[in-house]
Symmetry: C2
Subunit: 191 residues, 2 copies
């Protein structure tokens, strides 16, 4: 019984990810999620609450996966930006979830507890690296981090600059190189 | 009569801008747009076609306004990035329209004829500036331009990094400074 419940929850989360990524929060339909997961709609409400709560659970799950897969590395911020780009490219659903969330919910991602504590640790590390001279200190850590993320996400799902669907391997490699170069130019200490 | 028609069209476009910015394409309701514009729904279809066509007209109108208000300046790309940020901050509806479009429509903004021809001219100018040594030539013009736009949009509506609603004048000025500095670091020639 417990194992069945876990399997059902996992199917519901996978179906919810696909539904929210495609249609956003307002456009998502609980009926479709339950049907795609071959599960009962009432079970979905029982496990995850309402649609907004389900979305929050889905987004948190994917952010946790990102934080695990792409550890922050203040000693190699350009490489970190490149790895963020890799992850975003491999996980277009997460990128779309985050973009829907930003458009549909007041406030920002930073307001989720998970993102907040993770960001705090990154900012502390950048500030320390600025003090030691390893990272340029001409801009506040908070702004450097936001710019790094923005650079890393330049060619990902849901940006006006580029669609990733039509990018061949050479294009992807060139874009990744551009992300790393731009990040390096941003953070390297200037004499 | 003709003047009435123009006034009605203008009211419909303003109402459509607000509706699409708030709810996106799928979420927008033609009924609400017509009601907000105190206009007949059939008139809306007559003037602008279906919902997708209305959205395209709204987006094109706002992109034209952006292109007029923020002329591209290849001799001052950091300043151009700063002015893009200013415009985006003053026109959150345009930013939201562009982000909805990227999420809801296959392909990218570049596929609209207006954006395409504008981008082509920018790329030619950047390539020439790279040849003359005024702009760093370590990355292709296409990638430099995409990164510049991405940097300029770091702290605008619908980004996970920051919400603009709560930003006071000092924060806005500091973010603008960061945009300009990041753009300068990206494009300045390195020895």
């Amino acid at each position: 019984m417990a194992r069945d419940a876990e399997a059902t929850k996992a199917r519901l989360l996978a179906a919810a990810t696909a539904e929210f990524a495609a249609y956003g929060i307002a456009g998502a339909r609980i009926d479709r999620i339950a049907a795609a997961a071959s599960a009962n709609k009432n079970l979905l409400y029982l496990y995850f609450g309402n649609k907004e709560q389900l979305f929050a659970t889905v987004l948190d799950t994917h952010i946790s996966a990102l934080l695990d897969a792409v550890p922050f590395d203040v000693t190699d911020l350009p490489g970190y930006a490149g790895r963020l780009y890799d992850f975003a490219l491999g996980h277009p659903d997460l990128v779309r979830l985050a973009r829907w969330y930003s458009l549909e919910q007041p406030g920002s991602l930073e307001s989720t507890p998970l993102a907040f504590s993770s960001t705090k640790a990154k900012l502390d590390a950048i500030t320390a690296a600025q003090s030691s001279g390893a990272v340029d200190d001409g801009l506040p850590a908070e702004h450097l981090l936001a710019l790094l993320l923005s650079i890393a996400m330049t060619w990902t799902e849901g940006t006006p600059e580029a669609s990733t669907a039509d990018a061949d391997a050479g294009t992807v490699a060139a874009r990744r190189h551009a992300v790393v170069v731009a990040a390096r130019r941003l953070v390297r200490p200037v004499g």
